[in-house]
């Protein structure tokens, strides 16, 4: 081996080796295990091939299928609501901080971003108290303006939205930073030229800011989706998937089936389904964006 080859391999081996062993091999194992009956308490060699049975079961009409399809729907709804709130808010906050020329904008940026540093477990604990129907300050404040009291985490109608809101509270600062990064890439001269032509506020936003932020927004949406799929702590700790399964989301459900109940094959089939759903969604979003670009 030449000296160059040797040093190239030496530079790449530690990281790519770790990624191969702890990410790529497990992906392959997940796919294989999805077609087997296997207890997660026993070695991989005990897995027996059963074809598509796991997939039939998780999409079937039995209780396994009902729970899984519920979790899939909850996660889809949760992700949609998160993205629908995070993107507009982060654009608003980003423009307020970056474009409005307000004193103290950097302080706001710091406060917003600081929430992203807070461990999710602490967020979950604090919000479980903030949401408390009788002792929590949120219902108290809403009461002052004549709203409520709302049941928040204790009703199947509002529990999932409540988890979405705490997630938005934690993450919106991070996405605001991404949007600011996108805004700094828009040349000031474009705005000035448009203003010469008489364009004002909403027109500047609609014809310059938004179109030129498109790639940033697309990237943000994908990251927000991947983050939303990972929601775990508030569900595991506070709601346990309830009430009546309304907050039973994929990460929580797959872990409960595959690790806690040790139904490794069944859990793996759920993981594969989740992965496929994500790949299809992300590919479709990018394909749509590209087609619009060509117009």
């Amino acid at each position: 081996m030449s000296g160059f080859r040797k040093s190239m391999v030496a530079m790449l081996a530690p990281s790519l080796g770790l990624i191969a062993i702890f990410i790529l091999v497990p992906i392959a194992l997940t796919v294989w295990l999805a077609f087997t009956k296997w207890s997660a308490q026993t070695p991989f060699s005990t897995a027996t091939f059963i074809g598509l049975d796991n997939f039939r079961e998780i999409f079937g009409t039995g209780s396994v299928g009902r729970d899984f399809k519920g979790a899939l729907a909850n996660t889809a709804l949760y992700s949609l609501m998160s993205i629908a709130l995070i993107l507009p808010l982060s654009v608003l906050f980003g423009m307020l901080i970056h474009q409005a020329d307000l004193r103290g904008a950097n302080i706001l940026r710091t406060i917003l971003f600081a929430t992203y540093m807070v461990p999710m477990i602490a967020v979950a604990l604090v919000f479980s108290k903030l949401y408390s129907p009788s002792e929590g300050p949120i219902n108290q404040i809403l009461g002052w303006v004549g709203i409520g009291p709302l049941p928040w985490l204790s009703s199947p109608d509002t529990a999932l939205v409540s988890v979405v809101l705490l997630n938005v509270w934690q993450q919106v600062g991070y996405f605001t930073i991404l949007i600011i990064a996108g805004l700094t890439q828009i040349p000031q001269s474009i705005y000035e030229a448009a203003k010469m032509d008489g364009a004002r506020g909403p027109a500047l936003f609609g014809f310059i800011t938004l179109p030129l932020l498109k790639r940033t927004l697309l990237f943000s949406a994908v990251i927000a989706l991947i983050n939303a799929v990972q929601v775990f702590e508030p569900v595991a700790l506070v709601t346990q998937g309830g009430p009546v399964g309304s907050t039973n989301v994929m990460t929580y459900h797959i872990r409960r089936v595959g690790i806690e109940r040790a139904q490794g094959g069944l859990g793996s089939a759920m993981s594969v389904t989740l992965l496929l759903a994500l790949v299809v969604t992300v590919t479709a979003v990018f394909a749509l964006a590209r087609r619009e670009d060509r117009r």
Binding site: L178, R215, S268
Partner: protein, 288 residues
């Protein structure tokens, strides 16, 4: 960081409009800070105050009793040490592996480079739950389950770090690397004594990101430690306080524990945030 700003066209920003924007800004800051302020205030309440309806906002007689109680229920020192070990070693590992791989991807030309890089980047978008079940078994089969090593080893390299380092090392002039080679420096020497200082701000940002992420991470340690409570990081020890929290008497207790867990990442953030913002802006990771 002072940001360039549009010179407002005459009449574009009336004082009234600016007043509204300032109010909006203050409202956002208040909503954003409120949960954390409430957390700290509640940790200082007496049990009676903490369960009052409607809630009292400012503790009448602030006391640190809740913190005392937390340290009796969970081994705070031990949990902090575990968290520091997990986050510290993982971060150090990520910095080293990312520098090396980032250097190779940025400065070496070899076959399959783009393919390898693309595969690496793809793993950045993988939700951990997808590999959790076999990973749990895999780590167990190499004898690392229920130990800190099991928490740390699978995370010593990550795609985000490699991506970030490649982006910034690509901006380091080739002449700098060539000159060091002519002086007879080994490739490792070049990476750690010439390239690393040149990308120091990005390294600082990566360090902050990795440390906070692994200090806060919950799903993987919970899964791999399997109830071995002597190895619990603070975020998992904290979750055990909730069983005491079922009776509302101990709200203050949970808030005290949460306050303790939040402090290290927030303190680190205050010192390193400027690197972080600058790095995200300059990395092109938002797709420009």
């Amino acid at each position: 960081m002072s940001l360039p700003v549009t010179t407002p066209a005459p009449g574009a920003a009336s004082p009234a409009w600016r007043g509204i924007l300032y109010l909006l800004m203050i409202a956002i800051a208040v909503v954003s800070a409120f949960p954390l302020v409430w957390m700290v205030l509640s940790s200082l309440k007496t049990p009676a105050e903490a369960m009052q309806t409607p809630p009292v906002w400012i503790p009448g007689t602030p006391s640190l009793d809740a913190y005392q109680k937390v340290s009796e229920l969970i081994s705070v020192g031990r949990s902090f040490a575990n968290s520091a070990l997990i986050a510290g070693i993982t971060t150090a590992g990520i910095l080293v592996t990312s520098l090396m791989a980032g250097y190779a991807f940025a400065k070496y030309r070899f076959r399959y480079r783009e393919v390898l890089f693309a595969i690496t980047i793809a793993t950045m978008f993988l939700p951990p739950i997808v590999t959790l079940i076999p990973l749990y078994r895999l780590v167990g089969s190499i004898g690392l389950n229920a130990s800190l090593a099991g928490v740390i080893v699978p995370n010593l390299a990550n795609a985000f770090g490699i991506f970030l380092m490649r982006q910034f090392i690509a901006g380091v002039p080739d002449e700098l690397v060539e000159a060091a080679r002519l002086d007879g420096a080994s490739e490792f020497r070049i990476v750690f004594t010439i390239v690393a200082p040149a990308v120091a701000p990005a390294l600082a940002a990566l360090a902050l990101f990795a440390f906070v992420y692994h200090w806060n991470s919950y799903l993987w340690p919970l899964t791999v430690l399997q109830g071995n409570s002597s190895q619990y990081p603070i975020v998992i020890s904290l979750s055990r306080l909730l069983s005491y929290n079922r009776s509302a008497v101990n709200t203050g207790l949970v808030m005290a524990g949460a306050t303790l867990a939040v402090l290290p990442p927030l303190i680190l953030f205050v010192f390193l945030q400027r690197f972080f913002v600058r790095t995200i802006t300059a990395s092109g990771m938002t797709g420009q």
